[in-house]
């Protein structure tokens, strides 16, 4: 099956692309997708362990099961999360 992975902000810059068609086999989870993304983009490794994931526009944990055609977005911490913004 194929899922669509979306990269944003620092992850998009490091990956050099904003999306990726990712081929997975069996009954993969978000955790399995993360392993495969890390294998294809070693430069993302440090970041992939402090991001959250959105599956089809809803927050998803690492155990969430993926289906063909799903959109899995990798969500880096947002800019205003700390008290340092405007």
């Amino acid at each position: 099956m194929t899922i669509n992975v979306r990269f944003f902000a620092i992850l998009k810059d490091l990956a050099g692309q904003s999306s990726l068609s990712l081929e997975l086999t069996g009954q993969p989870t978000v955790a399995d997708a993360r392993v495969e993304i890390e294998r294809q983009f070693p430069s993302l490794k440090a970041h992939l362990h402090r991001v959250s994931f959105a599956l089809n526009l809803s927050h998803a944990g690492l155990q969430a099961v993926l289906h063909d055609g799903d959109e899995l977005a990798i969500i880096p911490p947002v800019s205003g999360g700390a008290d340092q913004g405007t």
Binding site: I10, P76, V78, G85, T86
Partner: protein, 147 residues
């Protein structure tokens, strides 16, 4: 997009503050509280100055999250009308990047709802910013690290 009483948008062009206030006002309201977040001038210790911020959104998710914020605020305060607008793309120093406006019958609720909306938006909504400096460097801003 309207979520009940709220006008919610992600825009690439300048935010018109006057138009947003007029659009948020309502006959039942005795107060319109407005927050405008702008790009602050900054000078780094090494002398380079900030030129602009580049904002990037996961638009479909960010709109969904902003609608959720509007629903939560509406449950908590007697809001007659509200506006949440965030700009994406380049925003020069001094220009607005985000506007929240809330109209309520009495001013205390307008202040409180407005503050809660901007604080929660900045903590939760899928929008990121990159600092662009005079020496050509670009820095993504994340709460736990400047990477």
């Amino acid at each position: 997009m309207m979520d009940g009483l709220f006008h919610i948008a992600i825009v690439a062009d300048a935010i018109d503050v006057a138009v947003s206030i007029k659009r948020t006002d309502h006959p039942d309201a005795g107060a319109v509280n407005v927050f405008v977040g702008t790009t602050r001038a900054e000078t780094h210790a090494d002398g380079r100055r900030l030129i602009r911020l580049d904002y990037e959104a996961y638009e479909a998710l960010a709109i969904k999250q902003m609608n959720d914020l509007a629903s939560r605020a509406t449950e908590r305060w007697p809001i007659a009308r509200g506006t949440i607008i965030h700009r994406i793309g380049p925003v020069k120093v001094g220009e607005p990047s985000v506007l929240i406006a809330v109209a309520t019958p009495h001013r205390r609720d307008a202040f409180d709802a407005c503050q809660w909306l901007i604080d929660t938006l900045k903590a939760e909504v899928a929008i990121w910013k990159q600092e662009i400096w005079t020496d050509g460097t670009a820095t993504w801003v994340h709460p736990d690290a400047r990477v």
